[in-house]
C-alpha cells in the first residue's frame, strides 16, 4: 500500500449540484505518476466502485476497464443520470460478472470526469481547474493509475481484467505490462492500435468541441460556459460509429418523427435525427468536453506494436495470461480483423487464448447490450478461469 494516502470526499459540479463520487482515494503524494509524456502527476485522485464481496485471499477480483464515455458506475443507479449503470445487465448476482462470486472493481479513468483526476479537477498548484494545462495522458497512464489503486487496496493479482472498446485497450495494456498481476484478460471489441479511421472520427469530435465559441480555449469553467453544442455534435457523430447500418435501419428506417410528412425544412423530420439529437443532449448533461478531448487523444496514441519495436508478437512473449478475445460481426469501428491480428500475435507465442466472434447486428455497442451469446461466453470463460485459479463454484 502507498503510505500517506487518505480517502477523502470529493465534490464535482454537474447538472447544477455537487455530486460526491465515493469511494475515491488520493494517491501519489510520495511517488507521483510518471506519465508517458514525461510529466509527473501527483497527487492524483482515483474514484472507483466495487460490487460483490472480496474473499479472504483477495483472489476473486474482476477488474473492469470502462470505455471512452463510460465510468465506474457499472450497476445500480447512476448518481448523475439516475439511470442504470452501463453494465447493469452484465454485473450482478447470477449475471456473467457474478457478484455472488466475484469482487467486481471499476475505476474512473485518469482524465475522466466522474471523480478521478482530469481536466475539470482543481490543479493544486494554481487553485483553478486544470483545463488544457492538464497533461496529455495515455491508455498506459490510465492503467498505471489503476495499478496504484490496486496497490492501495492490497490486491496483488486480479482474477480477470475485462473491458470493451477503450476498456479493451486497457485490458491489453494490463496484460502486456503487468502480466504477473493479471490471471486472465478479456479484451472485447478493441484493437492493438487505433486505426486511421478511428483517429479520423475522434478528430471530427474534437474539432466540434474546440470550434464551439463556448469552449474558450478549454477554460470554459472560468467563463461559466460549457461547449455543449460542440460536445453534442461530437457525441452524435461518434454514436453513429457505435451502431450498424442494419441496426439503425431496423430501429428507425426512414420513419418520421411525430409528423405525417416531411416539413421541407431542417427540423428533425426523421426519427433517426431526433434520436441522435437526444443522444447528444443527454450526453452533455453527464460528460465533460475537455475530458472528451483528453480521452479520445489517449485512444489515438494507443499502439502496442509501436511500443515493442513494431512487432505485436514481441509484445506478448512468454505471456502467462489466459486470454479471451471477443468481437462482433457488425462492429465496423473495431472490426473482427483487429481482434484476429491480436490472436495471431498471441498464437505466435503459443499463448493460452480463446477467440470468439459473436454474430449480432448491433454494432460496436453490442458489448453494452443484452446479447445472450456474449453473456454465455463471458460466464463460461470466467467460470473456467475461476476453476483454474482454485475458486469454489457459485
Amino acid at each position: 500500500m502507498e503510505s500517506g494516502e487518505a480517502t477523502r470526499p470529493r465534490g464535482r459540479l454537474y447538472s447544477g449540484g455537487p455530486i460526491r463520487h465515493e469511494p475515491s482515494v488520493v494517491l501519489g503524494h510520495d511517488r507521483p505518476l510518471k506519465l508517458a509524456s514525461g510529466v509527473e502527476l501527483g497527487p492524483f485522485t482515483v474514484a472507483f466502485q466495487t460490487y460483490g464481496r472480496l474473499n479472504d485471499e483477495r483472489s476473486n477480483v474482476v477488474l473492469v476497464c470502462h470505455a471512452l464515455t463510460g465510468d465506474q458506475y457499472l450497476a445500480g443507479s447512476h448518481p448523475v443520470t439516475g439511470r442504470p449503470g452501463w453494465w447493469d445487465n452484465t454485473v450482478g448476482p447470477g449475471r456473467p460478472l457474478d457478484t455472488d462470486r466475484f469482487h467486481v472493481l471499476c475505476a474512473n479513468v485518469l482524465g475522466g470526469c466522474m471523480g478521478s483526476t482530469g481536466p475539470t479537477e482543481i490543479d493544486p498548484a494554481t487553485g483553478k481547474p486544470y483545463g488544457m494545462s492538464f497533461p496529455l495522458i495515455t491508455v498506459a497512464d490510465m492503467v498505471d493509475a489503476q495499478a496504484r489503486l490496486l496497490d492501495h487496496l492490497g490486491i496483488g493479482q486480479v482474477l480477470a481484467v475485462v473491458g470493451g472498446s477503450m476498456g479493451g485497450m486497457q485490458v491489453l495494456d494490463w496484460a502486456r505490462r503487468y502480466p504477473e498481476r493479471v490471471f486472465s484478460a478479456i479484451p472485447i471489441a478493441c484493437s492493438a492500435r487505433h486505426t486511421a479511421q478511428n483517429i479520423a472520427f475522434n478528430e471530427v469530435g474534437r474539432r466540434a468541441i474546440m470550434t464551439d465559441p463556448d469552449w474558450h480555449d478549454g477554460n470554459y469553467l472560468l467563463y461559466g460556459t460549457r461547449p455543449s453544442q460542440g460536445l453534442a455534435v461530437a457525441r452524435m457523430a461518434a454514436h453513429i460509429t457505435y451502431l450498424s447500418d442494419t441496426a439503425l435501419h431496423r430501429k428507425f428506417g426512414r420513419g418520421l418523427q411525430d409528423r405525417e410528412h416531411v416539413t421541407y425544412g431542417f427540423e428533425a423530420d426523421f426519427q433517426v435525427e431526433s434520436y441522435l439529437r437526444h443522444q447528444g443532449q443527454s450526453f452533455v448533461e453527464r460528460f465533460d468536453a475537455n475530458s472528451y478531448l483528453y480521452i479520445t487523444r489517449a485512444m489515438d496514441y494507443f499502439d502496442i506494436a509501436a511500443e515493442c519495436g513494431g512487432s505485436l508478437q514481441a509484445a506478448f512473449v512468454d505471456t502467462p495470461v489466459r486470454y479471451c478475445l471477443i468481437s462482433f460481426t457488425s462492429d465496423w469501428l473495431f472490426p473482427t480483423a483487429e481482434s484476429r491480428d491480436i490472436v495471431h500475435a498471441l498464437n505466435a507465442n503459443a499463448a493460452n487464448v480463446s477467440f470468439v466472434e459473436i454474430e449480432t447486428d448491433k454494432g460496436h455497442d453490442s458489448f453494452l447490450l443484452d446479447v445472450p451469446e456474449f453473456n454465455a461466453i463471458l460466464s463460461g470463460f470466467l467460470d473456467g478461469v475461476a476453476r483454474h485459479r482454485g475458486l469454489d463454484g457459485p
Binding site: H344, A350, N352, S354, V356, I377
Partner: protein, 216 residues
C-alpha cells in the same frame, strides 16, 4: 452461426462413443501441452483437460463449435487448419491432434507438415477410403460410399481429399514424416494389426489413427 462444426464431430456426442478419440486420449500422457486442430465442440479437449490434466488448446473453423467450447471454459480460437497453423512457433506443443479433419482440408500435405512442425508429435485420424465397404459400394454398387465415418452424400460432404491408409503412409514417407505408431480401427472399434503389411488394415480399417513426428 447456424453452421455445424465442419470437422466430423457430432455436437454433444461424448468421447465414450468415439473409439478413435478414446485411442487418441490414451496416446497422450497426463500434463502434456496439446493443440486440438478442428476440435469441434471440444469433446476430446474437455476429456483431456478434465481426465488427463493436459494444458489444452483448440482451433475450430465453425463459430458454433468455438462458442460451445469457450462457454465450457476451454481455450479455443476460431481458425482454419489450412491457413492459421503457420502462426504457431516450432514445437510449441507436445501433441497436435487432427482427428477426422485431414480429409476436409484444402492442402492436407501442408497441414501434415505444419502439424509435425508445431508439435513434437502429431496424432492424426482419418476415414480410410480403402475400407472394404467403401470399395464394395464403389466397385459393385457404382456409387460414392456412405458409411458411419463418411456419413454425408457426395454433394453435401465437407470432405474433399479422401485417401486410403496406404496413400497416407506413402505421403508420410515422401515427406520425411516418421510414423511412430499406427492403428487401423475396425467398424466395431477393434484394432487391425499392421503385421505382416498394410493390406489387412487398409482393407478392414474403417479409420486410421497415426502418431507422427518430423524425421531427423
Amino acid at each position: 452461426m447456424n453452421d455445424q462444426p465442419a470437422s466430423n464431430r457430432e455436437s454433444g456426442r461424448a468421447i465414450g462413443q468415439r473409439v478413435d478419440l478414446q485411442l487418441i486420449a490414451r496416446m497422450i500422457e497426463p500434463g502434456a501441452r496439446v493443440l486440438d486442430v478442428g476440435c469441434g465442440d471440444g469433446a476430446l479437449l474437455r476429456h483431456l483437460v478434465e481426465h488427463r490434466g493436459v494444458d489444452g488448446r483448440g482451433i475450430e473453423i465453425s463459430q458454433a463449435g468455438v462458442n460451445a467450447c469457450v462457454r465450457n471454459g476451454l481455450s479455443v480460437v476460431q481458425g482454419d487448419a489450412d491457413t492459421d497453423l503457420e502462426d504457431y512457433p516450432d514445437h510449441a506443443f507436445d501433441y497436435v491432434v487432427l482427428s477426422l479433419t485431414l480429409q476436409a482440408t484444402h492442402n492436407p500435405r501442408l497441414v501434415l507438415l505444419e502439424l509435425v512442425r508445431i508439435g513434437r508429435r502429431a496424432i492424426v485420424s482419418f476415414p480410410n477410403f480403402g475400407y472394404w465397404r467403401c470399395r464394395l459400394q464403389l466397385a459393385l454398387g457404382g456409387r460414392m460410399p456412405v458409411t458411419d465415418t463418411l456419413s454425408n452424400p457426395w454433394f453435401a460432404t465437407p470432405n474433399i481429399h479422401f485417401c486410403t491408409i496406404s496413400d497416407f503412409l506413402e505421403l508420410c514417407r515422401e515427406e520425411g514424416i516418421a510414423v511412430e505408431r499406427g492403428v487401423a480401427l475396425r467398424h466395431d472399434g477393434a484394432a487391425v494389426g499392421f503385421w505382416p503389411g498394410r493390406f489387412l488394415p487398409n482393407m478392414f480399417g474403417e479409420q486410421g489413427v497415426f502418431m507422427l513426428s518430423r524425421r531427423g
